[in-house]
Assembly symmetry: C2
Homo-oligomer: 104 residues x 2
DNA sequence: ATTGTATATCGCAAAAATACGATTAAAGGT
DNA sequence: ACCTTTAATCGTATTTTTGCGATATACAAT
């Protein structure tokens, strides 16, 4: 049986939900904040979060697959940074949604 | 063992994550959109979504506990509407987060 | 009082998310 | 060649979310 009916909704609704999902864990918000101070390597992020390296790596993967961040290999390290165009698009998307709401 | 380390993050990060979580399912986005056309009763929302009544009720509960909507009992029905102040606060919160991001 | 309508809650099953330790892979330095 | 460092992936445990049918509740109408 289908246990995710996500696909039964509009493209737009799913896109917004996907961005929201990427932001739905405080660790991922925290990661974005760290990166907003400037690009840095994975290890620095791990040091700043109260989570194990493997867990942080997983959160980074989710942010990356949502397109909110980019990772660039730099020798043995990986340098992460915000993906501005997508961030900007997300901002507009949310803003549009919220401002389209009129109350009762 | 602790399987939710949410509490180890800042108040601000958790608040934002909670709003995002409320928006992280297309059904809940769809519900908000329905309500943005004006207040309506639970049954109307159920009719507009591809989900069972009990499932919609659960999504409504989550939106309500996030403060994004209000439900008012009206005889045998419940009339739902957007909770404008909280929506506005959410909008500002997200906008602030996104605009605070500077890219690498 | 009985019936019907509307919605919430309960109980359950399946799926997805969270978290971590251990392992692997990839690169640099010695 | 060997070791160290860095980060991703794997395997696994636990928790949370999603979804539905069935039931309960609350109110209205007859």
């Amino acid at each position: 049986m289908a246990y995710t009916k996500r696909t039964e909704f509009s493209e737009d609704e799913m896109q917004l939900a996907d961005i929201a999902k990427a932001l739905s864990h405080p660790a991922r918000i925290a990661i974005l904040k760290v990166l907003s101070d400037g690009q840095c390597i994975c290890g620095d992020i791990v040091d700043r979060l109260p989570l194990a390296q493997s867990t942080v790596s997983q959160h980074l993967k989710e942010l990356k697959s949502a397109g909110l961040i980019k990772g660039e290999i730099d020798g043995p390290r990986v340098c992460y940074c915000l993906n501005e165009p997508v961030i900007g698009k997300a901002r507009k998307h949310f803003n549009f949604l919220f401002t389209s709401f009129n109350c009762c």
